[in-house]
Amino acid sequence: MDKTQLSAVLQLLKKYNLKGTEEILRKEANISDNLNVDSLNRDADVNSILKGYKSDGDPEAYEAAYTDLKKFVEYSLDIYKHELGAILFPVLVHMYLELVYNDHADKGIELMRKFGPEQDYYYQDDLRKLAMIVKKEHMNGNELAETFKSNQFVIRISRDTLSLLKRHLDEKKSSVLFNIIQDHLYFDTYEGVARNKSQIDATAGSLGGEISRYNKTKVYYGIPKGPDPITIAAPTEEDDGDGGGGDPDNPDKPKKKKAKKDPMFSKKTKSDPNAPPPDRIPAPEWKDNDKAEKFKACKEASKRVTLGPDCMPSCCCYTLLNANYTVCCAEITEDSSMLAVGFNDSILKVWTLVPQKLKAMKTAEQLEEVNIEAEDVLVRMMDERSGETSRTLCGHNGPVYSVSFSPDRTLLLSCSEDSTIRLWSLQIWTCLVVYKGHMFPIWDVKFSPLGYYFASASFDRTARLWATDHYQPLRLFAGHFSDVDCIQFHPNANYVATGSSDRRVCLWDCATGNRARIMTGHKSPIHSLAFSNDGRYLASGGADCKVLLWDLAHGHLVAEMTGHEKTIHCLAFSRCGNVLASGGLDCTLKIWDFSKLLEESNAEELNVSHNPDVKSGDSYLLRNFATKNSPLINLHFTRRNLLIAVALFDGGST
């Protein structure tokens, strides 16, 4: 036992106030207080010593051990080769970190130079970041090094492959290798045939390995039965039914669920076994206004065009001019009447996309004159003369990275680099609340489809669930190894999905705060998420220029759609659920045939195959439209299935 370890133990004893033991140990080990303090100062964190990379291993042994392992992988049988190959990267990384930690950085660099370039392409980014660390001190506080240090790298491996590996390790008795595999790798075993290279590649690439062991919990991905569309069609009836059948003490009536839900769809899912109980998440009160809104939505939806390969969507593109490098985000209301844009210079702008102007509420004195008994009180309270086509909201203190409208279009949320979320009123056009909680810039914020709740994603590696009337978050979703870049509510509002720079997509349960799914397969940070209308599938896109489609029932990767050339920033499912649109920095809009994809994936029996084949999406690409030097930042399908795109004209790059 060396001194640092002893001092760590001493500190631990001190921490738990075990004075007696501490003194005895001190006496036995002949350690004076001074020395203790010294060594403690050098390595402040106890954990970093206990779980760190302290190793007596001969620095020369590492390369030999790695070469040996590589040889073993190469000479093993083809069916096991690729699964075994998956351990090479984590082993190399840990070897490097261990060497750097023990002041043999030159050896580590040599090792990396030799074997780094032959790692899979999706690990090269990590290796580049790792290359920054050439000193022990650098590891402290480095996101990547800490992730590797404090988390076991998960490798999915078949039982046969694992036993093969174990046998090899026993034979070789290489302590370096054995320790690394013992300490830093976790083998997630399964029964069955080992996977091939493409199967591994499809789900590999995330920071922390390929995780699927969380994906056993049941996810209520269905949409609970909403109000009957027939009663909705006659709003007065609905009103009566609500008053008669509803219990005033219980605000969470089933009928109040899913105000925004598509009535055409609800017919199909009347008895969806996968839907959560309606009162799983307390829902806000169902107001008259919401009913009228729902009625309008139903009427609109009946005029909807069903899209498909034979009926392609029309796309109206709103281009923001003079917006070079100043616009960060854009969002369109559910009924496509307003567009909100967040700017680099801390302001927000709201445009109206319909002939109705943006009106402000009357002043307090004028409001007293309004007859509150009147049917159209909501109209009367607005000042007719105040109509404008665009309005500016000022208040943030840094670039506005995301905006989100409430379902009733009276509220707007925005999040910014200044670590705050602001709630704005779209009736009096001022800021109502500032939510402070995140410590670092906030990348994304989204209103729940029910309203009332919202979720945020931040640089501080957490996502949080909030309610508009609470100034503190209700849930804190921690577990990502890197920034949480984007967040999206499940259509049934029971879950949120997050995409992160650790290249994982997670699904979190709002009711419990637990992680319900972890899905790996992206090779770069994720910037966009979209749920399918039936709630079962999740599409994600990011800097790796791929759109990945996940089945939430099992957490499987269903398809991988490639074609974009730059970061994908927006995804949208059509209202009919047949078509998926994606757009990004490469100035193109791509339309994918989602219904065909579903048909083909449903044809295969998902449950039988343990590792379903990932479909390549190229055959599902229906159309590709280019814009004129205008990166797309938002996509939205109107209730009638007209596609609206928001683009930034980049005049500088012509």
């Binding site: 660099i109 130079r113 580049r128 970041k129 290359a131 920054m132 660390i133 050439v134 000193k135 650098h138 480095n142 009926c311 392609m312 969507p313 029309s314 796309c315 109206c316 593109c317 709103y318 281009t319 923001l320 001019l321 003079n322 917006a323 490098y325 100043t326 616009v327 960060c328 985000c329 567009l339 844009v341 700017f343 680099n344 702008k349 445009w351 665009s390 840094g398 670039p399 680099e417 670092f440 810039p441 990348w443 640089f459 920034d483 870049d485 940070p525 970061t567 920095l585 809009l589 229906l622 159309r623 590709n624 439209f625 280019a626 814009t627 004129k628 030097n629 990166p631 795109a645 930034l648």
Partner: protein, 604 residues
């Protein structure tokens, strides 16, 4: 640290020298090697970290360019005070300097005049962000409107002109329904070349009809609209062959009929097409240049030459020609050289009509000062003589000739005065002028003297940059006059244009020949096989097949159109004598081939 490889990720650090320079700049006189090394390593690590974080801010602002504000935000996240005052209008504010064996990058700090700052209290406000909507696609088809990118990019249009088969797969991704059947299979290396027919949709046919009617119709407002459409519409490339045919056929007919108005309208169409940014016009130049040339140098362009202002048409067409030369001249197609030679040849003819002479002079003068100096100036005397005779024997010559003479005279004075002013030194001797320029001497002298007294010379007429001109001239001198060779053998005629050294030919891409004959030719089953230059990526043997379906615009498609992207052109046609009509349209100096150039043919 020893020698660091720039491309190496590991241990890419600032040099210790940089550290020492920076230390010096903030007043630390001596920085030890160890300290510098330690600092360099630490600072490199921190800077890399900051850049890594700054990239996150860039990504979330949906940009692909890192800005100073991103660095500031990254610093803020690390709880470091941002570096204020580094906002820069330029993308890279660094200047480079070297000297004394040291290389240095520095930021230029300009002195700011406080007075300027105080007086400009209101700096220019940034433009407000505005919203504009357009249809990106309608029912899955992208409309060709200026807001959308051209359906086929210029690069692809160019490629298409070289190899039409390549067009098919590209078309599929361009927002049109996939049919799949058009995919041609590559069987070994032999491809059967299909004739690339440009089928026009009904809408396009209507558009074509409307546009052409409007362009030559009597309604000036409609014409302006139509020309505007031609000049700005991005989706015209499919109709371009038709448009060009319309223009050349129009010129052909109207020159014979001396319909000045229509010729002007047609030239305006050419102008509109030239102005359209999204069109790849190069492959139609061989058709357009002869037509434009006709409008410059034709002997007669109107019914009443003594009354109508056909001079304006010649001026306008000359400007068009200059624009063509400016836009499309490359070192391989030598358009400007060839145009210059053509006009110069006309000048040298003794019996050329005065109107043609005027056109040739105008055409040359639009090509720039250098061209004027070399090609017009030496001939001023002889031209002067000719004009003089007209004036002297005033009774004998027609009124028309008189007008022509005075026009030529004023043209010469207008274009020569600025040139003479710049090449001659101030004491202008009248006698010298008389001696050198003969009849024109007196007028030129007074014009030059007048020009000297005016502070700003009028040089607006020169569209070309003198530097390009001089390079052209030197080429003109160096290349032998046999740029166009015509070999007539018993059965076949080969037109080899623009002969360039063999080595250059080997470099360029393959050259393809597409031949379709008129249906009456007995060659329908005969094939011509052409082997390609060895440097091509794959040797492609081409069967140039004939289709009996006569396309609507037969005159358009019977031609040999050869174009490689280097502009290196070789056309070769074999056929039985008499039956094959050979027109290499690029060979626009071959006037005897086309009847419209009757007037011009006299010039050669």
């Amino acid at each position: 640290m020893s020698k660091i490889n720039e491309c190496d990720l590991y241990g890419t650090n600032f040099s210790t020298e940089s550290m020492k320079v920076i230390a010096e700049s903030i007043g630390i006189g001596y920085l030890g090697d160890d300290a510098a090394k330690e600092l360099a390593e630490d600072i490199s690590f921190r800077v890399k970290h900051i850049i890594q974080d700054a990239a996150k801010f860039m990504n979330h602002a949906k940009r692909s360019k890192l800005l100073q504000t991103d660095i500031d935000s990254a610093l803020k996240v690390k709880n470091i005070e941002p570096q204020y005052g580094f906002q820069s209008a330029e993308p890279l504010p660094f200047r480079f300097a070297s000297g004394g064996g040291r290389e240095l990058h520095f930021i230029e700090e300009k002195e700011v005049d406080l007075n300027d700052l105080l007086h400009n209290i209101n700096p220019k406000a940034p433009l407000e962000t505005t919203l504009r909507s357009h249809w990106l696609c309608i029912d899955g088809v992208q409309p060709t409107i200026p807001e959308n990118p051209p359906p086929v990019a210029k690069v692809i249009q160019k490629l298409e002109s070289v190899d039409p088969v390549k067009k098919k797969p590209l078309k599929e991704t361009a927002g049109k329904p996939t049919t799949g059947k058009q995919k041609l299979k590559n069987i070994e290396t032999v491809q059967i070349k299909q004739l690339a027919t440009h089928e026009l949709s009904v809408e396009q046919q209507v558009y074509y009809k409307e546009i052409t009617e409007a362009c030559v119709g009597s309604d000036e407002a409609r014409r302006a609209e139509a020309l505007q459409s031609l000049a700005s519409d991005p989706g015209l490339h499919e109709m371009l062959p038709r448009m060009c045919t319309f223009i050349i056929e129009g010129v052909r007919v109207n020159v014979v009929q001396n319909n000045l108005a229509l010729l002007i309208y047609l030239m305006r169409m050419v102008k509109a097409l030239l102005d359209n940014q999204s069109l790849y016009l190069e492959k139609y130049l061989h058709e357009l240049i002869p037509s434009v040339t006709t409008c410059i140098v034709s002997k007669q362009l109107c019914m009443r030459p003594e009354l109508d202002n056909h001079w304006a048409l010649r001026d306008f067409a000359s400007r068009l020609m200059a624009q063509i030369c400016k836009n499309f001249n490359t070192s391989t197609n030598n358009i400007q050289t060839r145009v210059t030679r053509m006009f110069t040849n006309a000048l040298q003819q003794e019996k050329v009509a005065l109107s043609s002479l005027y056109g040739a002079l105008q055409g040359l003068s639009e090509l720039g000062a250098e061209v004027i100096r070399i090609f017009i100036l030496p001939r001023v005397k002889s031209i002067g003589q000719r004009i003089e005779t007209n004036y002297l024997e005033g009774n004998l010559v027609s009124n028309m000739e008189k007008i022509a003479s005075s026009n030529i005279k004023s043209l010469l004075i207008k274009v020569l005065a600025p040139v003479l002013k710049s090449i001659r030194s101030p004491p202008d001797n009248l006698e010298e002028y008389k001696q050198e320029f003969g009849y024109m001497g007196v007028s030129l002298h007074s014009a030059v003297v007048k020009a000297r007294t005016q502070p700003t010379p009028a040089t607006t007429g020169f569209t070309n940059n003198p530097i390009t001109c001089s390079s052209t001239i030197s080429r003109t001198v160096s290349t032998p006059s046999g740029i166009i060779q015509q070999q007539t053998s018993s059965g076949s005629r080969t037109i080899v244009m623009n002969t360039t050294p063999r080595a250059q030919m080997a470099q360029s891409n393959q050259k393809f020949v597409f031949v379709t004959q008129r249906p009456q030719t007995p060659m329908s089953s005969s094939h011509q096989i052409q082997q390609n230059a060895p440097a091509g990526q794959n040797t492609v043997v081409k069967f140039v097949s004939n289709t009996n379906q006569q396309p609507k615009l037969a005159s358009q498609q019977k031609l040999v159109v050869v174009n490689s992207n280097q502009g290196n052109v070789q056309g070769q046609i074999a056929g039985s004598p008499g039956n094959t009509v050979l027109i290499s349209k690029q060979n626009f100096v071959q006037q005897q081939q086309s009847p419209i150039l009757d007037d011009l043919s006299q010039l050669v």
